[in-house]
């Protein structure tokens, strides 16, 4: 048994144990924290499977933003689950066994795990992405070139989904119920603790600079607009957790956020339209600099990644602010 197999199996053992514990726990606070652990371990698994960009995203999203959102909702609602009646368990178990059995039967047809000669690897598109991209686009991180250039349409679609979901959350939570007078008092905020206040103030610029590093370095290493956006937003989430929502809204007013959410999508589409005006196809970055297509590709990818970063950061921050704002108004 190779080290690869051994490490995979150990990580899966931790994941399955965590998942079982999550299913059994009735305390939702604990279940949420275990979900964060589940995300962290799956990020390690992604690193082991060479998906460094994915691991980065999973660590930032699953462990950071997702956990904070779940905790925010737990603060608004009830953190204890009712006992699941026994008569619900058996049909669910039956369905799951049936579906699982079918899937186990189906995966027999897949090639061996980790083999090098699978249809995925043998497909001609592999050569395009791994070898020709070096001449066509000229950036080492092929994940970035596929994301922003070869499959630019696809990524635009994903960004529009994020935009739509963000707008929907804002619409659902925008009209807060009228605050009850006797509950209006100054909240105890973490900023009253000196250590937390000082450390978070020191950390804040580093988090934001790191987000920019991730954004601009996405061509050469793991990173890009999605990760950068989430990290940028998490800086403001930290600020809001420590200094309260009003403090964070002074730094990043709601009106600015509401402008930033569509700005990213418009910038992305704008790059595509600019390409068309310059005589290329939609999102064909070569047209940005016909003399040297590589320069055009670099510029196009950077613009598009920035656009992704703006919308993702604004949506994540706005979503967190609206959950947190709900709490103040109740």
């Amino acid at each position: 048994m190779s080290t690869f197999v051994l490490m995979n199996v150990s990580l899966f053992a931790i994941l399955i144990a965590t998942a079982l514990a999550i299913t059994r726990l009735r305390a939702l606070y604990e279940a949420t924290m275990l979900t964060a652990l589940f995300s962290l371990v799956s990020a390690s698994l992604f690193v082991l499977l060479d998906a460094v960009d994915v691991a980065f995203t999973e660590a930032a999203v699953g462990v950071g933003i997702s956990t904070v959102l779940f905790l925010g909702v737990l603060a608004l609602t009830r953190s204890r689950e009712a006992v699941t009646p026994r008569h619900r368990l058996w049909p669910a178990g039956f369905v799951v066994l049936l579906a699982g059995g079918t899937l186990i039967y189906a995966v027999q047809d897949l090639p061996s795990f980790g083999a090098a000669d699978t249809p995925v690897q043998a497909h001609p598109v592999t050569e395009t992405y791994l070898e020709e991209s070096q001449h066509d686009i000229g950036i080492p991180n092929t994940v970035t070139s596929v994301l922003a250039s070869y499959r630019g349409y696809d990524t635009l679609g994903e960004l529009v989904v994020i935009f739509t979901a963000g707008v929907a959350v804002l619409m659902l939570l925008a009209h807060a119920p009228r605050p009850r007078e006797h509950l209006v008092h100054r909240e105890l905020i973490l900023a009253d603790y000196r250590i937390v206040r000082v450390i978070s103030k020191i950390l804040m610029p580093f988090i934001l600079v790191f987000a920019f590093y991730v954004l601009f370095h996405g061509d050469y290493g793991p990173g890009g607009g999605f990760q950068a956006g989430v990290i940028f937003a998490s800086g403001f989430v930290l600020y809001a957790l420590v200094f309260g929502l009003d403090g964070a809204r002074q730094v990043l007013p709601q009106s600015v956020l509401l402008w930033l959410i569509p700005l990213g999508v418009l910038l992305y589409v704008g790059v595509g339209v600019a390409n068309m005006l310059l005589g290329g196809a939609f999102l064909d970055y070569n047209s940005l600099n016909p003399g040297d297509p590589e320069v055009g590709q670099h510029a196009g990818i950077l613009l598009v990644e920035t656009a992704i970063g703006i919308t993702v950061a604004a949506v994540m921050a706005a979503v967190f602010f609206s959950f947190a704002g709900r709490r103040l108004s109740r």
């Binding site: 197999v5 199996v9 899966f12 399955i16 998942a19 999550i22 299913t23 939702l28 799956s42 499977l49 998906a51 960009d53 995203t57 999203v61 699953g62 997702s66 959102l69 779940f70 925010g72 909702v73 608004l76 009830r78 689950e81 009712a82 699941t84 049909p91 178990g93 699982g100 899937l103 995966v107 897949l110 061996s112 795990f113 980790g114 090098a116 995925v120 690897q121 592999t126 992405y129 791994l130 991209s133 070096q134 080492p140 991180n141 092929t142 596929v146 499959r151 696809d154 990524t155 994903e158 979901a165 959350v169 659902l172 939570l173 050469y220 290493g221 999605f226 989430v230 994540m316 959950f323």
Partner: protein, 122 residues
């Protein structure tokens, strides 16, 4: 059953734990947590399909011959961020349901709806 597929079996097991949580539990937040588990397991399946045992991360470097396939990575990293955006939408609905019904349990919501419906009919 061949043992070279071990990772796929384990991934299916994880998926089914997630699906079981979604189906069997009546608490809406717990359902969302289960959906998250299910979602991450699907991500693993995709990443597993592109992985090569002796491979390297698909960042081109001199002297490296075998890379894992970049396409699943692209699809999944966007899916993760889309996933959190849609989870946030689900959470917003949960908050509104709690504010309207004062409970997160599916059964109680259905019972109250049925009671109100009967009240209107009578």
């Amino acid at each position: 059953m061949s043992w070279s597929h071990y990772a796929y079996y384990l991934i299916v097991a994880l998926m089914m734990i997630g699906l079981y949580t979604v189906i069997s539990h009546g608490n809406l937040l717990k359902k969302l947590i289960g959906l998250n588990l299910f979602q991450v397991s699907v991500f693993m399946l995709y990443i597993g399909l592109g992985a090569v045992e002796e491979g390297s991360a698909p960042i081109i470097k001199d002297g490296v011959e075998t890379y894992s396939h970049p396409l699943p990575h692209v699809l999944i990293l966007t899916a993760i961020v889309v996933g959190i955006a849609t989870t946030a939408l689900g959470l917003a609905l949960v908050v509104r349901i709690f504010e309207a019904y004062g409970t997160l349990e599916e059964d109680e919501v259905i019972t109250r709806d049925a009671a109100e419906h009967d009240g209107v009919a009578a």
